[in-house]
Amino acid sequence: MTESRLQYDVIIIGAGMAGSTAAAITARHGLKTALIERGQKPGGKNYFGGALYTHALLDIYPDFFEYRPPLERPVTESGFWFLSNDGVVKATVQGGKMANEPIDAYIALRAEFDAWWAQQAQQEGAFLIPKTLVVDVIREDGRVIGVQTDRPQGDVYAPVVIIAEGVNNLLTQKLGLIDHDIKPASAALAVKQLVSIPAKDINARLGLPDNEHGMAISVIGDVSMGMPGLGFLYTCTKALSLGVGVTLDALQETQIKPYELLQRYLEHPVIAPIIADGQLMEYGAHLIPEGGWKDMPRLYTDGALVAGDAASMVNALHWEGTNMAIVAGKQAALTVVEAHEKGDFSANTLSSYHSRLKETFVMKDLRQYRKMSRFLGTHPDFMDIYPAFLNDAMGMFFTGFGKPKRRLYRDILRSLTSRRPIVKVVGDLLSFGRAVMGM
């Protein structure tokens, strides 16, 4: 075949947050960029809670809000709901810093947002190739020089490839950047239902003044049935996103069907009235890499870089992942631009990706929280006992009228110690603190 081969300056695999960001930056710097996406459209394979973080979006497009991005509500109230089996203690924050413009986070739906985000990269000059799966990289003398797709005559060449393939990082594994597949202990499965509810009902049920106010809630306790995991609730404009994420090893052990766990959450006496008469718009599930620091692959090799979920860039405690992906995508792209300037795509040159990332919150946070997933794995009661106790305690406190208060406090304490010896409680708190601080 004498046809000229498909040659680009850079190939980016996966048009998610990391990939489309990287594509926008490389194209902006004049590189001939191919962005390859396996879905019908960017976003078609993506499923998240969730919220996007303004700081990261504005960093890529300073006038982001003027492009009319497809966002749902801004997050004006955020916090925790601690569920017992029939009640809730809410600890949320609104007003104050939450109300400062620009609002720090916006709720979004990925199918629509990612398609738009990729369009911005196309506007910068990147060439989007959808409906195409990259099955392997092409190597020459050990260097990556292109990718092989699943289409006939499907080889594409570039001196450097950014892999943003997502959590199922098979290419990253094939490249030998990590020597093992995801481990059950370091990934969570999140299942979610998007339930359509009229905006005015959402506002009335959740106490939101209008459609320009929204909530991002982490739900702890009864929702995960004792497994290390969290529930969540996000307000879209005319729908609610409700889901549960639990670690894979716990799921395996308990033999609980994820969709039954989710349904149980939706039927919780506190949640059910919020979604009453709602219509299921979409159900889905996705893995979340929670290994963080310890499951991070090597981030570069000769001719290739890895970013986003594929590189385990997720902070499970803070529900952060998309912003890390954006930052990493940008840094990977800048590294590629630099490599093109030098005309050198060796691991040595690309190693600056790692040092660039170290200067960002991504590496700092991932390092700080490196012990968190282990903590939750070894302290399953944290998800169960304390929320139940909290509900009990608050319940007693506010119904204890006509009771000697000394007895009330004693009852409350007993409610805790009957669940867990006080020594262990102190130990839990200490190790939680250490895990958060990264000590």
Partner: protein
């Protein structure tokens, strides 16, 4: 994991997953299956067959006693089975470009 009984937990409801899956859009590949059991005998010998429970779309189904079948067309490509199969007995790859689940909202 230690199970605590002192607080009565609400039971898990029965869920009919196929009805829930009606909310999903798929581009079904009629020509190629992206998911397969490597060795059926391994599944038959598998004690717990956890895949029947952990798959979030219930794509793994018991068939005639101890055989396990995959309803590939309902797969949403999450990867859980690849990671959790105790015998790594699942041949897992992504569907061909353009095929498989296509989230409308995400």
């Amino acid at each position: 994991m230690e199970k605590r009984q002192e607080q009565e937990r609400r039971a898990l409801p029965d869920v009919y997953i196929d009805d829930i899956l009606m909310s999903l859009k798929y581009f079904t590949d009629e020509q190629e299956l992206h998911l397969a059991i490597i060795d059926e005998a391994v599944c038959q010998a598998c004690e717990n067959q956890p895949c029947i429970d952990f798959c979030p779309v219930g794509a793994y189904r018991p068939q005639d006693g101890r055989t396990v079948q995959i309803a590939v067309q309902s797969c949403i490509e999450c990867g859980t089975c690849r990671v959790l199969c105790p015998y790594l007995n699942v041949s897992w790859k992504n569907p061909r470009g353009g095929f498989g689940v296509a989230y409308k909202f995400g």
